[in-house]
């Protein structure tokens, strides 16, 4: 009879998506999600302590069993391929806008970027980094975009509060500011004094962002 902790390891090994604590609790018939979290914690400690090639990371609201970065070179060799295809700068910037402003429409994204983002958004949709969240009640009823769980997984984020906090308009909607764990990149603050009270509008598409006629 396997121990529950071994079952947890098996679950994480076999699943393609992050496994939530609730799900572990459900599958193992545990008393609470806290028990599940504790099992994961112990398992994670065991993997770390034994210096195994695998580790548990917390992303997208669940747990994943992944390889350690140190063994990546051999995996690349095994795959007989270069590293994975990465997102372009345009894609990353667009993704950043969607992540912080979601749900956000293309005209609003275009206004921030200063260029048309249609192709970039299509690419991000194809890669399941974003999805359609609905339509905006503005002329043309444009689609509203939001990030997906795949986005969180791809960037190793537990949830949106893992995104760095930024001053100004780019506050995460409906998220307490103290929940953010990471520091803003130094770049963001150097040119943006935090003493700009008029910048605190968190609206999804403030009038100042209207595309220039």
């Amino acid at each position: 009879m396997p121990e529950p902790i071994d079952v947890v390891e098996a679950l994480l090994f076999a699943s393609e998506t992050p496994v939530e604590a609730d799900r572990i609790q459900e599958v193992l018939d545990l008393g609470s999600a806290g028990e599940a979290r504790e099992l994961v914690r112990v398992l994670s400690g065991r993997l770390d302590g034994q210096g195994r090639a695998l580790q548990i990371i917390e992303v997208g609201g669940g747990y994943r069993l992944v390889t350690r970065p140190e063994v990546a070179p051999w995996l690349v060799k095994l795959a007989r391929s270069r590293t994975r295809s990465r997102l372009s700068r345009s894609s990353l910037e667009t993704l950043a806008i969607v992540a912080y402003r979601q749900p956000v429409s293309r005209p609003d994204i275009d206004a921030v970027r200063g260029v048309n983002s249609e192709a970039v958004l299509d690419n991000l949709l194809d890669r399941r980094m974003i999805r359609i969240a609905g339509r905006k009640d503005s002329p043309g009823r444009p689609f509203l975009y939001e990030t997906t769980r795949d986005f969180l997984v791809a960037f190793g984020l537990r949830d949106l509060t893992d995104l760095p906090k930024v001053e100004g308009e780019l506050v995460i909607p409906e998220t307490p500011a103290d929940a953010t764990s990471s520091d803003a990149p130094a770049d963001t603050t150097e040119s943006t004094p935090a003493t700009d009270p008029h910048q605190q509008d968190p609206g999804a598409g403030g009038p100042e962002l209207a595309p220039r006629g």
Binding site: P69, R84, R89, V112, R113, V115, F155, T188
Partner: protein, 278 residues
């Protein structure tokens, strides 16, 4: 509001070599502000405009649309600069704009500030992505599919895209070939008889066509065999694979006529069943 201390020396340095490409006009503008160490709140329109226009010549546009975006920004900057060149109040210090111009500059500065944040966040995301790319986990489960598939990450939009892709695919397909009506053995028989009325000898190739279209040849051969069976034509071939010579048959004395009704009925079907008669 006066522009920040940008010495003429800095301005005259002019050429900035850049290897990275700019993803938009704001990206370029931000780059110029950074290299000039300009405070975005006091955007020096004159300097920035000149440098922007200078850079514009070296920017490689990805497409017409992005080129347009760069041009719109250029137009805005030139507009602002023109306002500076024509001060309303001659006593006003340089780099002072009228109300509209000041609003425009403010808006530009706001957008630049916003874009600077986004750019930094994009960089941050890029670093995260690079880190995560080193971690390999399962992406396709070996587990049997659940009985009910959760549709959480699907949307109507995906359906629409699938449909569009289908339509695109259909468009790309070559136009459909419209087959002409199949040749009729009966018609070909009539043609041969008609020809034999005016001449007493024919070459098979002249009837079937020199292009050697397979169906033409098959139909002609079947028609010919039918005529021979009916005694309306004679054929002979001098050598193997040689051309077949068609001559009026023994019955050409009597007026050549179209085959009788029973043949007509059978021959209305195209070539498929004809060999049985021949």
């Amino acid at each position: 509001m006066t522009g920040p201390a940008l010495s003429p020396e800095t301005e005259s340095q002019g050429i900035t070599v850049h290897v990275e490409s700019f993803v938009g006009p704001l990206d370029l503008l931000l780059h110029l502000c950074r290299t000039n160490e300009v405070d975005l709140a006091n955007l020096p329109i004159r300097t920035i405009t000149e440098q922007y226009l200078a850079h514009l010549e070296s920017v490689q546009f990805q497409d017409l649309e992005s080129a347009g975006a760069f041009m719109v920004m250029a137009a805005t900057l030139i507009y602002l600069k023109s306002k500076l060149l024509l001060p309303v109040d001659p006593d006003a210090p340089p780099e002072v704009l009228d109300e509209e111009g000041e609003l425009l500059r403010q808006e530009l500065a706001d957008r630049l500030r916003e874009y600077a944040r986004i750019k930094a966040l994009g960089t941050w995301l890029g670093e995260r992505e690079a880190e995560q790319a080193l971690l390999y986990g399962r992406t396709v489960a070996e587990l049997p599919l659940p009985e009910d598939v959760p549709l959480e990450d699907l949307s109507v939009h995906l359906l629409q895209r699938a449909m569009l892709r289908l339509i695109e695919e259909q468009k790309r397909q070559a136009p459909r070939q419209v087959e002409p009506n199949p040749l009729s053995v009966l018609e070909r028989m009539g043609e041969i008889i008609e020809l034999l009325r005016h001449t007493w000898s024919l070459l098979f190739s002249s009837v079937a066509g020199a292009e050697r279209v397979r169906t033409e040849w098959v139909v002609t051969l079947l028609a010919l065999l039918e005529l021979v069976r009916l005694g309306q034509a004679r054929v002979h071939q001098a050598e193997l694979f040689g051309d077949i010579v068609i001559e009026s048959g023994p019955t050409t004395d009597t007026a050549p006529s179209l085959p009788s009704e029973d043949i007509v009925a059978q021959e209305n079907e195209p070539t498929s069943g004809d060999s049985a008669h021949a």
